[in-house]
Amino acid sequence: MTVATEAVTLAAQATPTQTAQATDLVHAAAPAASLVQSVDWLAIAPPVVAAVAALLILVADLFVREGRKHLLGLGAVLGLVVALAALLPLRGAGHRTFCLVGDTTVCSYTADQFALVIQALVLVGALVTALLSLTLAKDDKNLPAGEYWFLLLSSAAGATLLPAARDLATLVVALEVASLPAFALVGLRRGDKRSSEAALKFFLSSVTATAVMLLGVSFVYAATGSLHLTEIATRLDNVPAQLDTLAQAGVALTLVGFAFKTAAAPFHFWVPDTYVGAPLPVAAYLSVTGKAVGFSGLILVTVVAFPSYADVWGPALAVLAALTMTVGNVAALRQNATRAHSAVRLLAWSSVGQAGYLLVPIAAAAYTSDAQIGSTVAYALMYAVVNLGAFAVAALVSRTNPGGRLTDYRGLYARSPLAALALGFFLLCLAGLPPGIIGLVAKVTVFSSAVDAGLAWLAVVMAVNVVIALYYYLRWTALLFRPAPQEAPEQAPATATGETPHPVRAPRRLPAPLGTAIVLTLVAAVALSGYPQLILRFVTGSLFQ
């Protein structure tokens, strides 16, 4: 783990500058007028703030006494808030930096609208995760606090860098900076066998993906002679004939790598076990931020770098989308409600299903224009808010019922009405049924992008999937409002004589950070339902400018 930590530290520090300079050297045929670049620090502030906060916390961990460790968590929350605030001055103006010396329109880091939206999503995801983790860190003494916060923030820094990356090297490095700490986060719980097994599974599948992707990237570089996405796009059009196969293989391998990261269908198997094995906030983080990272990478390579191969990746992504949503939803449908951890398992499978919906507009973009990407972005924003909310309530319930069974949610309304109503609302948003209007409208945009692109078959597959998904979401929602099981009081004394004491109405009081997370996501979801334009404005027009 220490190796991973060091690697992350180095990468987090050095990413943008080094890679940009490396790629510059390749192209710096132009006279070396000024080799020292002027860096737009404002533009790169969000990832830098997160990275600096990560390092500060790691250092501070050495000096903070055991009793004051919770201050580290507050520091992490503060760091994320500052990183979010750093996004504000970037609105409107298209900041870009690390540009080629010869050609200043080709840059490695671009803070366009797409980048800003995904950065906001990623940072909010990390922030809510941090809020959930504050409670976890207090409850779970097996969790090394300093390392935990450091890893979370480093991963967030990488995830924040990725959507703004505009060359393949930065993209791959950002992806790894986001992923490597995540492996450690999954396996961080000391002495938990399931946790380390999950981490290993996650690690092996992800490393395979990276290896494949790197191979693809090197092929593409060999064929085009550039790492910048826009340059690749123009050069792929006229690849020399003898390099054509190489270029095609490169494109295919790069896409396979990103499909792994997005947990698209044949590459999804690691998701359920990883989510179940990870601490709950980390699962929430993976399902939102991790997914956003994979998707923004996929969008960047497909739409920005490989538009000339749209006739290849378009149909491939459409098939992948159909497969992913079907596999995810059918597996979620088959979850046994009484099995341990069935709640998180269901959320994990449903996140696979939702990934399928997210892929639809990207596939549609191949047939029409990159304006369709807006539907993916809008859907991802909706999904992020709602899914974080669902995980927050799951974290609350798991405090009293560590089993994490779906049946534990029975009668939640009687125990804590607000949490039950919130979870019900989140689930209906995920299902896309009123009163979860934002979920429905987001689905409508995805549907309309499919219809617009003439992918009628995909729209129909998605329609069937929406119905399947409704079944399990609504079954869970209905469970919340069922009366609590009657036999519980009689069973309590019987189990109390066994080795595990029955959880005696454990902490009744709602921990403040957890409550904040639930209220924050609920307010956001309700506000979006009332005024969906807040996120749907990304649907119109291109985001890459």
Binding site: L428, L433, P434, T445, V466
Partner: protein, 524 residues
């Protein structure tokens, strides 16, 4: 009738749609001091009556302020931009087609709230019951007043969750399966419908129903229209329900609590047929033209199937459930509505809209009556009720028996009552269908529908004989006759059934100009 300024009308219409939703939220909160009532349950049920009552009054005032000289014009319309990205607008308005349905919905919901105040169905707390009832009301009312395709879909979907919970929590035997069947069927249908709506919206560039109706399908190619109508018709047909997509209905009705059945039959089914009239007919006429013969054929199969199923349920020894029987009779009645729409003539569509309202009044009444019967006897099983010679309701509870007989004859289409005009006009429409539709085929459909009316009469008379007549057995315990609250909730339905039967012009005068306009593509 009375002159109300346009802005007040707009406000009233917005209040009618949003009011119940606010009421639903308020129902979940604890009652404020001064309104606590005898118990929390009583207070929340009273809250339901007050809110639905206020909505009903607002709807009546709106009806009074409605300009009856221009029923084809959209009145009280509001048009606010909501989601600019999708060009979705909050466009509300009423014309002669939607006003009667709006009033019917407000009335039936109020009567249901009133009935539940005195006779709360068995189940968990009334708090959630009232909240769900009010959300349901918002959804149904919104369906009839929105003029934007996406908003229509939203309203259409909004009723699913409350109805699911009403059946699954307060229902009778087999309620869980019935509730699932209801929601999965309708959802599958409506998701397919969404695809059709999106196709129309994307190809024509607007989701506005008024603009699209005025365009009358000119901006859409025939193939787009055919695909869109096919998709939309599937969704609407599930809701209506049309044979062979009806199989969720009998189960849902049998399991639902009384008020659930009343609203399901009285209001929810109308959303399907309203969609046909409001969307399929004017927006994609060519597509509708292609499918009209098939729609009519399926409608007629539904009429015959429904009445044969009822006949079989009504027979001795078949253990027929009265609620299930009325549910099947709904399949038959809605078949008439679909036949009228499929004729694509003003006569047929007017008949369809009339039959819609009539079915809402009469079947609503019948479900109330059967629910009351079930409460008194503990079962709605016809064989158990009738035992040897009959249940002898005339002797044991004469008023209840008389009302049941009234409902039955109204349902079979006795002239002078509401049921008659709708069936007659739809068959008239089929007698002379729109240009280009095969006349011989429609004549056959009309003849078969006529056979259906005979079968309907047969089973309803059998039901009356077995339930109302028979020898009075001395040993059986006495059952209560119609109570005060039952009078209060049933009398309006009886009165309106008679009124619509004797004075059909009151409804047709509203619908006809609007229908003419819709069919002519806004040129009238």
């Amino acid at each position: 009738m009375i002159d109300i300024s346009e802005s007040v009308m707009q406000f009233l219409l917005a209040l009618i749609v949003v009011g119940p939703l606010i009421g639903a939220v308020a129902a979940l909160l604890p009652a404020p001091p001064g309104l606590k009532g005898k118990s929390p349950d009583q207070a929340v049920l009273r809250h339901g009556v007050v809110v639905t009552g206020a909505v009903l009054i607002a709807a009546i005032v709106l009806g009074l302020g409605f300009d009856r000289d221009h029923p084809a014009k959209m009145q009280a319309s509001t048009d606010i931009s909501w989601i600019q990205a999708l060009d979705v607008r909050i466009h509300l308005g009423i014309d002669g087609i939607s006003l009667p349905l709006l009033l019917l919905t407000a009335l039936l919901t109020f009567l249901c709230a009133l009935y539940s105040y005195f006779k709360m169905p068995k189940g968990p707390s009334p708090k959630a019951f009232v909240a769900l009832l009010l959300v349901l009301e918002t959804g149904t009312l919104a369906t009839f007043v929105v003029l934007d395709l996406i908003l229509f879909f939203l309203a259409f979907e909004m009723v699913l969750i409350p109805m699911y919970f009403l059946i699954a929590r307060w229902g009778g035997a087999q309620r869980t399966q019935a509730a699932w069947k209801f929601i999965l069927y309708t959802l599958l249908g409506s998701v397919v419908m969404l695809l059709g709506l999106l196709l129309i919206g994307l190809k024509s560039g607007t989701f506005d129903m008024v603009a699209l109706a005025t365009d009358n399908g000119r901006g859409l190619t025939t193939s787009v229209q055919v695909t869109a109508v096919l998709a939309i018709a599937v969704g609407l047909a599930v809701k209506t329900p049309m044979w062979p997509l009806h199989s969720w209905l009998p189960d849902a009705h049998t399991a639902a609590p009384t008020v659930g059945s009343v609203l399901l039959a009285g209001v929810l089914l109308k959303m399907g047929t309203y969609g046909f009239v409001r969307i399929a007919l004017p927006i994609a006429p060519e597509g509708m033209h292609t499918f009209a013969p098939y729609l009519a054929a399926l409608a007629v199969v539904g009429i015959l199937y429904g009445s044969l199923a009822c006949l079989s349920l009504a027979r001795k020894g078949n253990k027929g459930d009265l609620k299930r029987l009325i549910a099947y009779s709904s399949v038959g009645h809605m078949g008439f509505v679909l036949l009228g729409i499929a004729s694509m003539t003003p006569t047929g569509v007017n008949g369809a809209l009339f039959a819609n309202i009539a079915h809402g009044l009469i079947t609503g009444l019948l479900f109330f009556l059967v629910g009351a019967l079930k409460d008194r006897y503990g079962t709605a099983d016809l064989d158990t009720l009738a035992q040897g010679t009959g249940a002898a309701l005339y002797g044991r509870a004469p008023r209840l028996g008389a009302l049941l007989a009234f409902g039955a004859v109204a349902s079979l289409g006795l002239p002078g009552l509401a049921g008659f005009w709708g069936e007659m006009l739809t068959m008239f429409g089929a007698f002379d269908p729109a240009e280009g539709l095969s006349r011989p085929a429609f004549l056959t459909f009309m003849a078969l529908a006529g056979l259906g009316t005979l079968l309907t009469a047969a089973y309803l008379l059998i039901v009356v004989r077995r339930v109302c007549m028979g020898e009075r057995r001395e040993e059986t315990r006495a059952i209560a006759d119609v109570q005060g609250y039952e009078y209060a909730s049933w009398t309006p339905l009886v009165a309106l059934t008679v009124l619509a039967g004797l004075w059909p012009a009151v409804l047709l005068g509203l619908t006809d100009p609007a229908v003419q306009k819709l069919l002519a593509g806004g040129k009238s």
